[in-house]
Symmetry: C2
Subunit: 386 residues, 2 copies
């Protein structure tokens, strides 16, 4: 096991009808900016629950945060924060609203230049202060409710980039599984696959001696495989919704990441597909992952074999046969919940691969758990999805 | 899954040679009380590492905290805290030193009576303030390094009781697996069994729908079964020591407890055995647990069967046969690491059972996940260990 540090002070408030308690968590006298997305919270009734719960709180609203939230939108919110002298942010929505709110929280207090530098110059420019924020999660998927990570897209330059800081961890996150009841199939499927591949980025790496972390990662995968389809089959099944929701949270709250290598190359390549074609984040991961497993089958060999055996019961054949069968099972699972895995399913032309490899070639960036995936391997991984 | 709240802000600093970094974690200018036990930290070199790391810190020492720490000893430390105007406590040791330090931290600031009331009147008297504390863990076992729980023994009245408060969670805990290298077999074995039964108290209950929490609990059990004997066989095996140490921490950091029932009757009965005979905490649990599984086989039936099948591969026979085989396997595991499970192994006379049942009869207290274990069942559970 590697040395590690772990600290996660996010207060999770989980369960039925918990949204009505949100005012207990807001600092007294705070002026609150309520951030949300395209308005689904108004259709589902969550907006009304929040407004009723906060009837004694001074509230300003900022709606319209899009999926894969835009830097440009966030900077509009920063203006509102400054003009209205906001001192607490309350994100109500899914991972995009949460990620945007994290960025707004630190961008609003950054005076030394363009806050895009948090993403563009991660070694150089660090978050040093941020407004406090809380969250009401309406969509299990990204795990953003229990970590300090955020991914923002700058539309003008077609770039999608991440930053992270403990200062933008939510003070609290309220998770009511009943929010799952109103989600369309597409968002449930995205959430299942997103959480699944979050686990993969922390689990499907070269071997270190970390049997507990392995088992916890496998526990999340098994639960997603078991409970995800139940949620798709019956949207009012509270227990399955709860198990799905909590699995997505712990998939990225850092617990399975301690002391082990991490990869994240699937995410980095996936972000490019979103930047060029606006494909849902989870779907880009489902496109990239099979190629990643195929091309990096040597780096990841022992762990792919372990995953194949423990999760899918694949225990016979040569190593390569087992790896191929394991990749096929993984693809089959994604397709079974309604997530296609080929570029053609999303009308992505072959030229996009060239654009992406060109960008990696130009920057010279190498990615993956061993920082050994160069532009040529990025190309090979994407070609696997043709 | 039940509704739940979870917040655990303890900063874990895990790994080789991390003790030397402790001064980074102490608040600037703080006057620190260094608490420790019977002096083993001086033999193992940990004391010297800590003193060297803190050479610029104003330090007062309080050693001599015993196993199953005494209220009476803690109150001596409280006097030191007040006389020396201490503003930070640093516990260096195992669970007993940590538990004592948590009690000292809140007892020192309690002005409304006898701080024993935190244990004696848990509904009535609550911790409202506490000095900040940090920990350097030398003995994986109790999980005290990542929670707000503490168990204290009042020798004068032969009572051992628990209290808990988020205010006594350590600000940080440093875990260097190399500390395991110098532990005697007895303490390693105690730690394995202690952590194992912590998992049981949160896992081996009646069924709720919580497949993820089940799998995480089972992941800890499997890891303890696999890594524990390796630690016993080779005390310098860093990787096994690290896996054991982290398993003991997460066994009681609250992660596997969220949204599920808990039991703790094995602990409550075990505490009585320690109070009367000074038996090591973990050993009392190994004495009580088999009888608990036997007597509560109806309440816990589905979970015992699941545990037997997933952990020990017991999948054939009638339910009762499977339960008996599962209890036998559990006992065999405890005995294999050197922990006897019968009262006679500890020279406990039959009269002790009467003393304990008398105490439960007098208080009228009922314990366990369903609060249905009365004095008569306590007696039956202990008789199983004759």
């Amino acid at each position: 096991m590697y040395n590690f540090e772990y600290k996660n002070p996010v207060k999770i408030i989980f369960g039925k009808d918990k949204i009505s308690k949100v005012s207990n968590e807001i600092p007294e006298g705070a002026k609150v900016l309520l951030t949300y997305g395209g308005g689904s919270i108004k259709r589902t009734g969550v907006y009304e629950q929040v407004i009723n719960a906060l009837d004694n709180v001074s509230l300003v609203e900022f709606g319209g945060i899009e999926a894969n939230p835009h830097y440009e939108t966030c900077m509009q919110a920063v203006k509102v924060v400054k003009a209205e002298k906001i001192d607490f942010l309350l994100a109500v929505g899914g991972g995009s609203v949460l990620d945007a709110t994290k960025f707004i929280a630190c961008a609003a207090l950054y005076e030394n230049g363009d806050p895009w530098d948090f993403m563009a110059k991660p070694g150089e420019v660090r978050v040093e202060k941020a407004l406090p924020l809380g969250a009401i999660l309406t969509l299990p998927a990204t795990g953003s409710e229990m970590n300090g990570n955020s991914v923002i897209t700058r539309v003008s330059i077609q770039e999608k980039k991440a930053f992270g800081s403990p200062l933008v961890m939510p003070q609290f996150s309220i998770l009511d599984p009943q929010c799952v009841f109103t989600l369309p199939n597409k968002q449930v499927a995205n959430g299942i696959v997103d959480a699944f591949i979050h686990v993969f980025e922390q689990y499907l790496t070269f071997e270190v001696n970390s049997p507990l972390q392995d088992r916890w990662a496998e526990g999340i995968l098994s639960t997603l495989i078991e409970e995800g389809p139940k949620v798709l089959a019956d949207r009012n099944d509270y227990e399955s919704a709860a198990n799905f929701m909590w699995s997505a949270t712990v998939a990225l709250n850092g617990m399975i990441a301690v002391g082990v290598p991490q990869d994240w190359a699937t995410h980095l390549i996936g972000h490019e597909l979103t930047a060029y074609h606006g494909i849902d984040h989870a779907r880009t991961l489902a496109i990239v992952l099979p190629g990643m497993m195929h091309i990096k089958r040597d780096n990841k060999k022992d762990k792919i074999l372990q995953y194949g055996e423990r999760i899918w019961g694949i225990a016979t054949g040569s190593d390569d046969e087992r790896i191929d069968a394991t990749i096929a099972k993984t693809v089959e699972f994604f397709e079974s919940v309604g997530i296609p895995t080929k570029l053609r399913d999303y009308d992505v032309p072959t030229e996009t691969i060239t654009k992406i490899t060109d960008r990696f070639e130009k920057s010279g960036e190498k990615i993956g758990e061993k920082a050994d995936i160069d532009f040529a391997e990025v190309g090979a991984i994407l070609e696997h999805a043709l």
